[in-house]
Protein backbone atom coordinates (compact mmCIF):
# COMPACT_ATOMS: atom_id res chain seq x y z
CA UNK A 1 0.00 0.00 0.00
CA UNK A 2 1.21 3.48 -0.88
CA UNK A 3 1.86 5.91 1.95
CA UNK A 4 -0.39 8.98 2.02
CA UNK A 5 0.63 11.25 4.91
CA UNK A 6 -2.16 13.31 6.46
CA UNK A 7 -0.13 16.54 6.74
CA UNK A 8 -0.43 17.59 3.08
CA UNK A 9 -2.75 17.69 0.08
CA UNK A 10 -2.63 15.92 -3.27
CA UNK A 11 -3.14 16.44 -7.00
CA UNK A 12 -4.89 13.80 -9.11
CA UNK A 13 -1.67 13.59 -11.14
CA UNK A 14 0.18 12.26 -8.06
CA UNK A 15 1.99 15.33 -6.74
CA UNK A 16 1.78 16.47 -3.13
CA UNK A 17 1.79 20.01 -1.68
CA UNK A 18 2.53 20.93 1.92
CA UNK A 19 2.02 24.34 3.48
CA UNK A 20 5.09 25.48 5.43
CA UNK A 21 4.93 27.83 8.45
CA UNK A 22 6.30 30.77 6.40
CA UNK A 23 3.39 30.52 3.93
CA UNK A 24 5.41 28.88 1.16
CA UNK A 25 4.39 25.50 -0.26
CA UNK A 26 6.67 22.52 -0.71
CA UNK A 27 5.97 20.25 -3.70
CA UNK A 28 6.95 16.67 -4.45
CA UNK A 29 5.66 13.46 -5.99
CA UNK A 30 3.76 10.82 -4.05
CA UNK A 31 4.86 7.38 -2.92
CA UNK A 32 2.53 5.87 -5.50
CA UNK A 33 4.23 7.94 -8.23
CA UNK A 34 7.80 7.13 -7.21
CA UNK A 35 6.93 3.46 -7.00
CA UNK A 36 5.29 3.47 -10.41
CA UNK A 37 8.29 5.24 -11.94
CA UNK A 38 10.90 2.93 -10.47
CA UNK A 39 14.52 3.88 -9.75
CA UNK A 40 15.00 7.54 -10.58
CA UNK A 41 18.26 8.45 -12.27
CA UNK A 42 17.74 12.10 -13.24
CA UNK A 43 15.58 14.93 -11.96
CA UNK A 44 15.22 18.29 -13.69
CA UNK A 45 13.81 20.97 -11.40
CA UNK A 46 12.69 24.53 -12.29
CA UNK A 47 14.80 27.66 -11.83
CA UNK A 48 13.91 30.00 -8.96
CA UNK A 49 11.75 32.88 -10.19
CA UNK A 50 9.78 30.84 -12.68
CA UNK A 51 6.07 31.61 -12.55
CA UNK A 52 3.83 28.55 -12.78
CA UNK A 53 0.10 28.11 -13.34
CA UNK A 54 -1.64 25.16 -11.73
CA UNK A 55 -1.13 22.16 -14.00
CA UNK A 56 2.00 23.49 -15.71
CA UNK A 57 4.72 20.95 -16.42
CA UNK A 58 7.43 22.18 -14.06
CA UNK A 59 9.88 19.33 -13.51
CA UNK A 60 10.96 16.10 -15.17
CA UNK A 61 11.68 12.89 -13.30
CA UNK A 62 13.47 10.20 -15.24
CA UNK A 63 13.67 6.60 -14.21
CA UNK A 64 15.74 3.99 -15.97
CA UNK A 65 12.64 3.32 -18.02
CA UNK A 66 11.20 6.68 -19.02
CA UNK A 67 10.96 10.42 -18.54
CA UNK A 68 7.81 11.78 -16.88
CA UNK A 69 6.60 15.32 -16.43
CA UNK A 70 5.70 16.63 -13.00
CA UNK A 71 2.82 19.13 -12.95
CA UNK A 72 2.61 21.97 -10.51
CA UNK A 73 -0.41 21.29 -8.29
CA UNK A 74 -0.91 25.02 -7.63
CA UNK A 75 -0.12 28.41 -9.16
CA UNK A 76 2.87 30.27 -7.77
CA UNK A 77 6.48 31.40 -8.15
CA UNK A 78 9.41 29.06 -7.66
CA UNK A 79 11.43 30.10 -4.58
CA UNK A 80 13.87 27.22 -4.42
CA UNK A 81 14.52 23.81 -5.95
CA UNK A 82 16.02 20.80 -4.22
CA UNK A 83 19.70 21.03 -5.17
CA UNK A 84 20.49 17.62 -3.63
CA UNK A 85 18.57 15.87 -6.40
CA UNK A 86 21.26 16.73 -8.95
CA UNK A 87 23.70 14.30 -7.40
CA UNK A 88 21.15 12.06 -5.66
CA UNK A 89 17.93 11.61 -7.64
CA UNK A 90 17.33 8.41 -5.66
CA UNK A 91 16.29 10.56 -2.69
CA UNK A 92 12.87 10.74 -4.38
CA UNK A 93 12.58 6.95 -4.19
CA UNK A 94 13.95 6.72 -0.68
CA UNK A 95 12.09 9.62 0.94
CA UNK A 96 9.57 11.18 -1.43
CA UNK A 97 7.75 13.07 1.35
CA UNK A 98 10.94 14.33 3.01
CA UNK A 99 14.42 14.73 1.55
CA UNK A 100 13.09 13.94 -1.93
CA UNK A 101 11.03 17.16 -2.21
CA UNK A 102 11.27 18.87 -5.61
CA UNK A 103 10.62 22.59 -5.15
CA UNK A 104 9.20 25.31 -2.94
CA UNK A 105 6.67 27.82 -4.30
CA UNK A 106 5.30 31.14 -3.17
CA UNK A 107 1.61 30.45 -3.86
CA UNK A 108 -0.28 32.94 -6.01
CA UNK A 109 -3.18 32.77 -3.55
CA UNK A 110 -3.33 31.72 0.09
CA UNK A 111 -6.27 29.46 -0.74
CA UNK A 112 -4.30 27.61 -3.44
CA UNK A 113 -4.30 24.28 -1.61
CA UNK A 114 -8.06 24.20 -1.15
CA UNK A 115 -8.64 22.91 -4.66
CA UNK A 116 -6.47 19.83 -4.04
CA UNK A 117 -7.50 16.45 -2.69
CA UNK A 118 -7.28 15.64 0.99
CA UNK A 119 -5.46 12.46 2.07
CA UNK A 120 -8.67 10.42 2.24
CA UNK A 121 -9.82 11.50 -1.21
CA UNK A 122 -6.40 10.79 -2.70
CA UNK A 123 -6.31 7.36 -1.04
CA UNK A 124 -9.72 6.66 -2.52
CA UNK A 125 -8.44 7.64 -5.96
CA UNK A 126 -5.50 5.24 -5.58
CA UNK A 127 -7.84 2.46 -4.53
CA UNK A 128 -10.03 3.16 -7.56
CA UNK A 129 -6.96 3.02 -9.81
CA UNK A 130 -6.07 -0.34 -8.32
CA UNK A 131 -2.96 0.95 -6.63
Amino acid sequence: MSQVPADRRYAKSHEWARLLPDGSVEIGITDHAQHALGDLVFVEVPEPGRVLAAGDACAVVESVKAASDVYSPIAGTVLESNADLGASPELVNQDCYGRGWLMRLQPAASTALDALLGPAAYSAQLAAEGG
Binding site: G38, D39, V41, F42, E44, E62, S63, V64, K65, A66
Partner: protein
Protein backbone atom coordinates in the same frame (compact mmCIF):
# COMPACT_ATOMS: atom_id res chain seq x y z
CA UNK B 1 -5.00 -9.62 -20.82
CA UNK B 2 -1.69 -10.73 -22.25
CA UNK B 3 -0.31 -14.23 -22.59
CA UNK B 4 1.17 -15.62 -19.40
CA UNK B 5 4.30 -17.69 -18.89
CA UNK B 6 4.15 -20.70 -16.54
CA UNK B 7 5.94 -18.55 -13.94
CA UNK B 8 3.31 -15.79 -13.91
CA UNK B 9 2.10 -16.72 -10.42
CA UNK B 10 5.69 -16.74 -9.14
CA UNK B 11 6.28 -13.22 -10.44
CA UNK B 12 3.12 -11.91 -8.81
CA UNK B 13 4.00 -13.67 -5.55
CA UNK B 14 7.39 -11.91 -5.57
CA UNK B 15 5.69 -8.53 -5.94
CA UNK B 16 6.79 -7.95 -9.52
CA UNK B 17 5.55 -4.98 -11.45
CA UNK B 18 3.97 -6.56 -14.53
CA UNK B 19 3.84 -4.93 -17.96
CA UNK B 20 2.77 -5.89 -21.46
CA UNK B 21 5.71 -6.91 -23.63
CA UNK B 22 4.99 -8.14 -27.15
CA UNK B 23 1.58 -9.37 -26.04
CA UNK B 24 2.94 -11.09 -22.92
CA UNK B 25 2.32 -10.17 -19.31
CA UNK B 26 5.91 -9.93 -18.04
CA UNK B 27 7.75 -8.68 -14.94
CA UNK B 28 9.57 -5.37 -15.49
CA UNK B 29 11.15 -5.44 -12.02
CA UNK B 30 10.71 -6.97 -8.58
CA UNK B 31 11.50 -3.76 -6.69
CA UNK B 32 14.66 -2.06 -7.88
CA UNK B 33 15.69 -2.39 -11.50
CA UNK B 34 19.14 -0.94 -10.77
CA UNK B 35 19.76 -3.41 -7.96
CA UNK B 36 18.76 -6.29 -10.27
CA UNK B 37 21.18 -4.98 -12.89
CA UNK B 38 24.07 -4.92 -10.41
CA UNK B 39 23.26 -8.43 -9.18
CA UNK B 40 23.76 -9.75 -12.71
CA UNK B 41 27.04 -7.88 -13.20
CA UNK B 42 28.37 -8.93 -9.78
CA UNK B 43 26.79 -12.31 -8.90
CA UNK B 44 23.82 -14.02 -10.58
CA UNK B 45 20.42 -12.98 -11.86
CA UNK B 46 17.48 -15.12 -12.96
CA UNK B 47 15.19 -14.17 -15.85
CA UNK B 48 11.98 -15.80 -17.05
CA UNK B 49 12.34 -15.68 -20.84
CA UNK B 50 9.57 -18.15 -21.58
CA UNK B 51 7.92 -15.56 -23.80
CA UNK B 52 10.60 -16.23 -26.39
CA UNK B 53 9.69 -18.76 -29.01
CA UNK B 54 11.58 -22.00 -29.57
CA UNK B 55 11.21 -23.47 -33.05
CA UNK B 56 12.77 -26.77 -34.04
CA UNK B 57 13.66 -27.22 -37.71
CA UNK B 58 14.21 -30.90 -38.42
CA UNK B 59 14.69 -33.05 -41.45
CA UNK B 60 16.97 -33.93 -44.31
CA UNK B 61 16.78 -30.46 -45.87
CA UNK B 62 17.00 -28.44 -42.65
CA UNK B 63 20.53 -27.20 -43.24
CA UNK B 64 19.93 -26.14 -46.83
CA UNK B 65 16.66 -24.49 -45.83
CA UNK B 66 18.30 -22.41 -43.08
CA UNK B 67 21.19 -21.47 -45.36
CA UNK B 68 18.61 -19.80 -47.61
CA UNK B 69 16.41 -18.44 -44.78
CA UNK B 70 19.10 -16.73 -42.67
CA UNK B 71 21.64 -13.98 -43.44
CA UNK B 72 24.32 -15.71 -41.41
CA UNK B 73 25.49 -19.10 -42.63
CA UNK B 74 24.52 -22.16 -40.59
CA UNK B 75 27.34 -24.01 -42.31
CA UNK B 76 29.46 -22.35 -39.60
CA UNK B 77 27.68 -24.82 -37.32
CA UNK B 78 29.39 -28.17 -37.74
CA UNK B 79 29.79 -29.52 -34.21
CA UNK B 80 26.57 -30.46 -32.35
CA UNK B 81 25.58 -27.82 -29.79
CA UNK B 82 27.16 -24.85 -31.55
CA UNK B 83 25.10 -21.64 -31.74
CA UNK B 84 24.98 -18.79 -34.25
CA UNK B 85 23.40 -15.34 -34.07
CA UNK B 86 21.66 -14.30 -37.27
CA UNK B 87 19.14 -11.97 -38.83
CA UNK B 88 16.23 -13.28 -40.88
CA UNK B 89 15.70 -10.84 -43.76
CA UNK B 90 12.92 -10.07 -46.20
CA UNK B 91 13.63 -9.77 -49.91
CA UNK B 92 14.38 -6.04 -49.47
CA UNK B 93 17.05 -6.84 -46.89
CA UNK B 94 14.92 -5.56 -43.98
CA UNK B 95 15.25 -7.42 -40.68
CA UNK B 96 12.19 -9.60 -39.97
CA UNK B 97 13.79 -10.75 -36.73
CA UNK B 98 17.09 -11.52 -35.06
CA UNK B 99 17.54 -14.96 -33.58
CA UNK B 100 19.88 -17.61 -32.29
CA UNK B 101 20.10 -20.93 -34.09
CA UNK B 102 21.65 -24.03 -32.49
CA UNK B 103 22.73 -27.18 -34.23
CA UNK B 104 21.31 -29.76 -31.84
CA UNK B 105 22.59 -32.56 -34.03
CA UNK B 106 22.64 -33.21 -37.76
CA UNK B 107 19.21 -32.63 -39.35
CA UNK B 108 17.98 -30.93 -36.16
CA UNK B 109 18.34 -27.19 -35.66
CA UNK B 110 16.75 -25.17 -32.88
CA UNK B 111 15.86 -21.52 -33.51
CA UNK B 112 14.95 -19.04 -30.74
CA UNK B 113 13.08 -15.92 -31.87
CA UNK B 114 11.63 -12.85 -30.16
CA UNK B 115 8.25 -12.86 -28.41
CA UNK B 116 6.78 -9.91 -30.27
CA UNK B 117 7.60 -11.36 -33.67
CA UNK B 118 6.82 -15.02 -33.06
CA UNK B 119 3.55 -15.28 -34.99
CA UNK B 120 4.88 -13.41 -38.03
CA UNK B 121 8.13 -15.39 -37.92
CA UNK B 122 6.30 -18.71 -37.91
CA UNK B 123 4.14 -17.65 -40.87
CA UNK B 124 7.22 -16.49 -42.77
CA UNK B 125 9.26 -19.62 -42.03
CA UNK B 126 6.41 -21.98 -42.92
CA UNK B 127 5.70 -20.10 -46.17
CA UNK B 128 9.36 -20.29 -47.20
CA UNK B 129 9.40 -24.01 -46.35
CA UNK B 130 6.38 -24.60 -48.60
CA UNK B 131 8.04 -22.70 -51.47
CA UNK B 132 11.11 -24.85 -51.30
CA UNK B 133 9.14 -28.11 -51.12
CA UNK B 134 11.74 -29.12 -48.59
CA UNK B 135 11.84 -32.28 -46.54
CA UNK B 136 11.58 -30.72 -43.13
CA UNK B 137 9.39 -30.17 -40.14
CA UNK B 138 8.85 -26.77 -38.47
CA UNK B 139 7.84 -27.42 -34.87
CA UNK B 140 6.81 -24.64 -32.48
CA UNK B 141 7.93 -25.97 -29.10
CA UNK B 142 5.03 -24.75 -26.99
CA UNK B 143 5.89 -27.57 -24.57
CA UNK B 144 9.11 -25.77 -23.56
CA UNK B 145 9.78 -22.84 -21.25
CA UNK B 146 13.00 -20.89 -20.93
CA UNK B 147 15.15 -19.42 -18.17
CA UNK B 148 18.24 -17.23 -18.42
CA UNK B 149 20.70 -17.35 -15.53
CA UNK B 150 23.33 -14.68 -15.98
CA UNK B 151 26.30 -13.33 -14.07
CA UNK B 152 29.74 -14.45 -12.89
CA UNK B 153 28.19 -16.93 -10.42
CA UNK B 154 25.42 -18.12 -12.71
CA UNK B 155 26.90 -21.28 -14.19
CA UNK B 156 27.94 -22.65 -10.81
CA UNK B 157 24.38 -22.22 -9.54
CA UNK B 158 22.83 -23.93 -12.55
CA UNK B 159 25.05 -27.01 -12.51
CA UNK B 160 23.97 -27.72 -8.93
CA UNK B 161 20.53 -28.46 -10.37
CA UNK B 162 21.86 -30.94 -12.94
CA UNK B 163 22.41 -34.66 -12.53
CA UNK B 164 25.99 -35.28 -11.35
CA UNK B 165 26.77 -36.98 -14.66
CA UNK B 166 26.01 -33.75 -16.58
CA UNK B 167 27.75 -31.20 -14.36
CA UNK B 168 31.26 -31.40 -15.71
CA UNK B 169 30.15 -31.35 -19.33
CA UNK B 170 27.89 -28.34 -18.68
CA UNK B 171 30.76 -26.43 -17.06
CA UNK B 172 32.97 -27.34 -20.00
CA UNK B 173 30.59 -25.77 -22.55
CA UNK B 174 32.32 -23.11 -24.62
CA UNK B 175 30.63 -19.72 -25.13
CA UNK B 176 27.90 -19.94 -27.75
CA UNK B 177 27.34 -23.64 -27.44
CA UNK B 178 24.88 -25.90 -25.67
CA UNK B 179 24.01 -29.51 -24.91
CA UNK B 180 21.23 -31.66 -23.57
CA UNK B 181 21.45 -32.39 -19.84
CA UNK B 182 18.63 -34.87 -19.44
CA UNK B 183 15.61 -33.12 -20.94
CA UNK B 184 17.08 -29.66 -20.41
CA UNK B 185 18.91 -27.97 -23.23
CA UNK B 186 21.58 -25.87 -21.49
CA UNK B 187 23.45 -23.26 -23.56
CA UNK B 188 26.20 -20.83 -22.67
CA UNK B 189 24.43 -17.87 -24.26
CA UNK B 190 22.63 -14.77 -23.04
CA UNK B 191 21.62 -11.19 -23.55
CA UNK B 192 23.43 -9.40 -20.74
CA UNK B 193 27.14 -9.35 -21.62
CA UNK B 194 27.85 -11.64 -18.67
CA UNK B 195 28.71 -15.29 -18.54
CA UNK B 196 25.82 -17.62 -17.86
CA UNK B 197 23.38 -20.13 -19.25
CA UNK B 198 20.07 -20.12 -21.02
CA UNK B 199 17.99 -23.22 -20.32
CA UNK B 200 15.13 -24.61 -22.37
CA UNK B 201 13.19 -27.10 -20.32
CA UNK B 202 9.75 -28.76 -20.15
CA UNK B 203 7.02 -26.35 -19.06
CA UNK B 204 6.08 -28.46 -16.06
CA UNK B 205 9.65 -28.35 -14.68
CA UNK B 206 10.22 -24.62 -14.79
CA UNK B 207 8.61 -23.68 -11.47
CA UNK B 208 10.79 -26.10 -9.51
CA UNK B 209 13.90 -24.90 -11.36
CA UNK B 210 12.97 -21.25 -10.72
CA UNK B 211 12.51 -21.85 -7.00
CA UNK B 212 15.72 -23.87 -6.72
CA UNK B 213 17.74 -21.11 -8.41
CA UNK B 214 16.18 -18.47 -6.14
CA UNK B 215 17.07 -20.63 -3.15
CA UNK B 216 20.63 -20.85 -4.49
CA UNK B 217 20.84 -17.05 -4.34
CA UNK B 218 20.12 -16.01 -7.93
CA UNK B 219 18.23 -12.71 -7.89
CA UNK B 220 14.96 -12.52 -9.86
CA UNK B 221 15.40 -9.91 -12.58
CA UNK B 222 12.83 -8.29 -14.84
CA UNK B 223 12.75 -6.91 -18.34
CA UNK B 224 13.95 -3.52 -17.08
CA UNK B 225 17.33 -4.88 -15.99
CA UNK B 226 17.43 -7.07 -19.09
CA UNK B 227 17.22 -3.93 -21.21
CA UNK B 228 19.92 -1.93 -19.39
CA UNK B 229 22.21 -4.98 -19.36
CA UNK B 230 21.82 -5.67 -23.09
CA UNK B 231 22.33 -2.02 -23.97
CA UNK B 232 25.53 -1.83 -21.89
CA UNK B 233 26.60 -5.00 -23.70
CA UNK B 234 25.99 -3.25 -27.04
CA UNK B 235 23.34 -5.72 -28.16
CA UNK B 236 20.54 -4.61 -30.45
CA UNK B 237 16.89 -4.86 -29.47
CA UNK B 238 14.54 -5.86 -32.26
CA UNK B 239 11.93 -3.16 -32.91
CA UNK B 240 14.20 -0.44 -31.50
CA UNK B 241 17.56 -0.74 -33.18
CA UNK B 242 16.39 -2.55 -36.31
CA UNK B 243 13.15 -3.69 -37.87
CA UNK B 244 11.71 -4.76 -41.23
CA UNK B 245 12.42 -1.31 -42.70
CA UNK B 246 16.13 -1.40 -41.81
CA UNK B 247 18.84 -3.66 -43.14
CA UNK B 248 21.69 -5.12 -41.07
CA UNK B 249 24.37 -2.97 -42.74
CA UNK B 250 22.86 0.20 -41.22
CA UNK B 251 22.08 -1.53 -37.90
CA UNK B 252 25.53 -2.46 -36.63
CA UNK B 253 24.93 -6.04 -37.79
CA UNK B 254 27.16 -6.30 -40.88
CA UNK B 255 29.27 -8.81 -38.92
CA UNK B 256 26.29 -11.19 -38.83
CA UNK B 257 25.83 -11.29 -42.62
CA UNK B 258 27.86 -14.03 -44.33
CA UNK B 259 28.50 -12.86 -47.90
CA UNK B 260 30.95 -15.73 -48.34
CA UNK B 261 30.57 -18.19 -49.95
CA UNK B 262 29.42 -15.99 -52.83
CA UNK B 263 27.07 -18.62 -54.26
CA UNK B 264 24.91 -18.92 -51.11
CA UNK B 265 21.65 -17.28 -52.20
CA UNK B 266 20.12 -16.21 -48.89
CA UNK B 267 16.90 -14.17 -48.77
CA UNK B 268 17.80 -10.46 -48.86
CA UNK B 269 21.22 -11.03 -50.41
CA UNK B 270 20.42 -9.19 -53.66
CA UNK B 271 19.22 -6.10 -51.79
CA UNK B 272 22.32 -6.04 -49.57
CA UNK B 273 24.60 -6.52 -52.59
CA UNK B 274 23.01 -3.43 -54.14
CA UNK B 275 23.77 -1.43 -50.97
CA UNK B 276 27.36 -2.62 -51.08
CA UNK B 277 27.69 -1.82 -54.79
CA UNK B 278 26.44 1.70 -54.11
CA UNK B 279 29.30 2.28 -51.67
CA UNK B 280 27.76 0.87 -48.50
CA UNK B 281 25.08 2.04 -46.11
CA UNK B 282 24.47 5.79 -45.82
CA UNK B 283 23.93 5.45 -42.09
CA UNK B 284 25.56 3.51 -39.30
CA UNK B 285 24.64 2.45 -35.78
CA UNK B 286 27.00 3.83 -33.13
CA UNK B 287 27.24 4.00 -29.36
CA UNK B 288 26.76 7.30 -27.54
CA UNK B 289 27.81 8.41 -24.08
CA UNK B 290 26.10 11.58 -22.88
CA UNK B 291 28.66 14.09 -21.63
CA UNK B 292 26.02 16.32 -20.04
CA UNK B 293 23.47 15.40 -17.40
CA UNK B 294 20.23 13.87 -18.62
CA UNK B 295 19.01 10.61 -20.12
CA UNK B 296 19.16 9.55 -23.76
CA UNK B 297 15.93 7.94 -25.01
CA UNK B 298 14.85 6.26 -28.21
CA UNK B 299 13.55 8.62 -30.93
CA UNK B 300 15.48 11.66 -29.69
CA UNK B 301 16.95 13.59 -32.60
CA UNK B 302 20.71 13.47 -33.11
CA UNK B 303 22.31 16.52 -34.73
CA UNK B 304 25.71 16.08 -36.36
CA UNK B 305 26.94 19.60 -37.16
CA UNK B 306 27.96 19.94 -40.80
CA UNK B 307 26.95 16.36 -41.58
CA UNK B 308 23.24 15.80 -40.98
CA UNK B 309 20.83 14.25 -38.54
CA UNK B 310 20.19 10.89 -36.95
CA UNK B 311 18.11 9.31 -34.23
CA UNK B 312 18.64 7.56 -30.92
CA UNK B 313 17.33 4.01 -31.34
CA UNK B 314 17.82 2.82 -27.71
CA UNK B 315 18.82 4.96 -24.78
CA UNK B 316 18.97 4.56 -21.04
CA UNK B 317 20.84 5.35 -17.88
CA UNK B 318 23.68 2.88 -17.48
CA UNK B 319 23.79 1.64 -13.88
CA UNK B 320 27.38 0.41 -14.31
CA UNK B 321 28.73 3.63 -15.85
CA UNK B 322 26.35 5.92 -13.95
CA UNK B 323 26.01 7.84 -17.21
CA UNK B 324 23.46 7.84 -19.94
CA UNK B 325 24.31 5.67 -22.95
CA UNK B 326 22.58 4.91 -26.23
CA UNK B 327 22.66 3.32 -29.61
CA UNK B 328 21.94 5.78 -32.41
CA UNK B 329 21.60 5.65 -36.18
CA UNK B 330 23.67 8.49 -37.65
CA UNK B 331 25.09 9.53 -41.03
CA UNK B 332 28.11 7.53 -42.13
CA UNK B 333 30.41 10.59 -41.95
CA UNK B 334 29.63 11.22 -38.25
CA UNK B 335 32.79 11.87 -36.26
CA UNK B 336 33.66 11.73 -32.57
CA UNK B 337 30.92 13.92 -31.15
CA UNK B 338 27.23 14.66 -31.74
CA UNK B 339 24.44 16.75 -30.23
CA UNK B 340 21.22 15.19 -28.98
CA UNK B 341 17.97 17.13 -28.71
CA UNK B 342 16.59 16.40 -25.23
CA UNK B 343 13.36 18.35 -24.65
CA UNK B 344 14.53 21.19 -26.86
CA UNK B 345 18.05 21.46 -25.45
CA UNK B 346 21.05 20.30 -27.46
CA UNK B 347 23.34 18.23 -25.25
CA UNK B 348 26.72 16.81 -26.19
CA UNK B 349 27.32 13.09 -26.58
CA UNK B 350 30.52 11.28 -27.47
CA UNK B 351 30.52 8.61 -30.16
CA UNK B 352 31.94 5.27 -29.00
CA UNK B 353 32.16 1.73 -30.28
CA UNK B 354 29.91 -0.64 -28.31
CA UNK B 355 29.98 -2.69 -26.14
CA UNK B 356 30.09 -0.34 -23.19
CA UNK B 357 30.42 -3.12 -20.60
CA UNK B 358 31.27 -6.82 -20.92
CA UNK B 359 31.93 -9.44 -18.27
CA UNK B 360 31.71 -6.84 -15.51
CA UNK B 361 34.35 -4.60 -17.11
CA UNK B 362 33.84 -1.11 -18.48
CA UNK B 363 35.21 -1.11 -22.04
CA UNK B 364 34.98 2.55 -22.93
CA UNK B 365 36.83 5.56 -21.56
CA UNK B 366 34.59 7.63 -19.31
Amino acid sequence: MGRKTPLHGQHVALGARMVDFGGWDMPVNYGSQIEEHHRVRRAAGLFDVSHMCVIDVRGRDSRGFLRRLLANDVDKLQAPGKALYSCMLNAEGGVIDDLIVYLVKEEWFRVVVNAGTRDGDLLWIRARAREQLAHLEIIERVDLAMLAVQGPEARAKVVELLEPVDREAALALQPFSGRFCGEWFVARTGYTGEDGFEIMLPLEEISAAWLALLAAGAAPCGLGARDTLRLEAGMNLYGNDMDASRHPLESGLAWTVAFEPADRDFIGREALERVRAAGGAAQKLVGLVLEDRGVLRSHQKVVVPGVGEGEVTSGTFSPTLERSIALARVPKATGASVQVDIRGKLLTARVVKPPFVRRGRVLIVI
